[in-house]
Amino acid sequence: MVKLKIELSGGLEILFGNSKEHDLEISQANGKVTLADVITKARDDLLTDRPELFMKDDSVRPGILVLVNDTDWELTGTLHTLVEDGDTVTFISTLHGG
């Protein structure tokens, strides 16, 4: 069982019950939890609205940045990144307004 903190920013919180912070628990048979698992589980357990604005195919939609403990997931292995108990996963929608 991995317990994570999920944070949302840039307007994505609107799709998650208007709350910027959530807890998420995931169990996997082999004990290893990847960001791919986190994304699917966040959609299933936390998303309240418009899944197509959060996911596309098996990943997040273009324009969403994923962070593990405030680090860009591109530096940790994108979908294959392993997360651990206590990690924070953040989903940020890039903004265009000005």
């Binding site: 920013s9 840039g10 604005l53 273009p62 324009g63 591109e74 940020i92 307004g97 000005g98």
Partner: protein, 278 residues
């Protein structure tokens, strides 16, 4: 007059005569004279940047004034670039202020970006953001990118240093237009672009004067309702990026023909409907 205005900065340990000298010789281009561009341009003018370019093709509207503080009620109907330039000149008559009323387009992008040392993206739509980033990569200019929506703000510097990513490195695929417009409907608390635009002026001053550590490979998130600022560590530039990678397909030749509106599925600022203009 310049020395009078700049006197205070000169005696800063972090901002000595050499740094001030570089700033006075530098040119900074602010693209967009809206919520972000107004404070960015005002503080760049106040700091004594040698040449300040202001790009915007829209006119001032009364509904802009809750966040676009370089304009005034009496400027409604005037070109935004002219109105902002007038405010900058009134603050500091010793600098050169160039006005570009035709907007930032694939046709003039490379010429405009090349004519300045630092570029500030203060626009309000995805198509412009890709165009500006591509032009900065080709013209080899650092890009100070800011954005604001609702009560959130974002700030970073693209295309800077040996490994700084460009906008396309971060977002190779364009977002769906409905994910943008949906957010646009939410409006923005006017002081939020004020905070981000002022921070854009700071980053541009750092880049133009060569002092401090610019926000390259760092994304600053401002959550204004909680008063929390978070710094995110970003990826290096991506070798496969079609703009700044090893084998770019976006080049000085191809950029003017690139269909930015088609790529993002949304019109750029040129023809954006009112409802998109945050």
């Amino acid at each position: 007059m310049e020395s009078e205005i700049d006197r205070r900065q000169l005696i800063l340990p972090a901002f000595g005569p050499a740094a001030q000298g570089r700033l006075c010789k530098a040119g900074v281009l602010v693209i967009g004279a809206g919520g972000l561009g107004c404070p960015a341009a005002l503080y760049l003018a106040a700091a004594g940047v040698g040449r300040l370019g202001i790009v915007d093709q829209d006119a001032v509207e009364l509904s802009n004034l809750h966040r676009q503080v370089a304009h005034r009620e009496s400027s409604v109907g005037m070109h935004k670039a002219d109105s902002a330039a007038q405010a900058c000149r009134a603050l500091n008559s010793s600098i050169q202020v160039d006005v570009h009323r035709e907007g930032f387009t694939p046709a003039n992008a490379l010429e405009l970006a090349s004519a300045y040392d630092v570029i500030v993206d203060a626009t309000d739509n995805a198509a412009s953001r890709y165009l500006i980033s591509d032009a900065c990569v080709i013209a080899r200019r650092p890009l100070v990118s800011g954005a604001a929506l609702g009560t959130d703000g974002q700030l970073t510097v693209y295309n800077h240093g040996p490994d700084g990513p460009c906008y396309r490195c971060m977002f190779p695929e364009a977002p769906r237009p409905e994910s943008c417009s949906r957010c646009s409907d939410a409006g923005v608390l006017g002081v939020v672009p004020g905070i981000i635009g002022t921070l854009q002026a700071l980053e541009a001053i750092k880049l133009a004067s060569g002092v401090g550590k610019p926000l390259s490979r760092t994304l600053l998130l401002a959550d204004c309702m909680s008063g929390r600022f978070t710094s995110i560590k970003l990826r290096a530039k991506m070798p496969g990026c079609i703009a700044c990678g090893h084998n770019p397909s976006i080049t000085a030749q191809s950029l003017p023909e690139y269909d930015y509106n088609g790529f993002t599925g949304a019109p750029s600022n040129d023809t954006a409907p009112q409802s998109l203009q945050l």
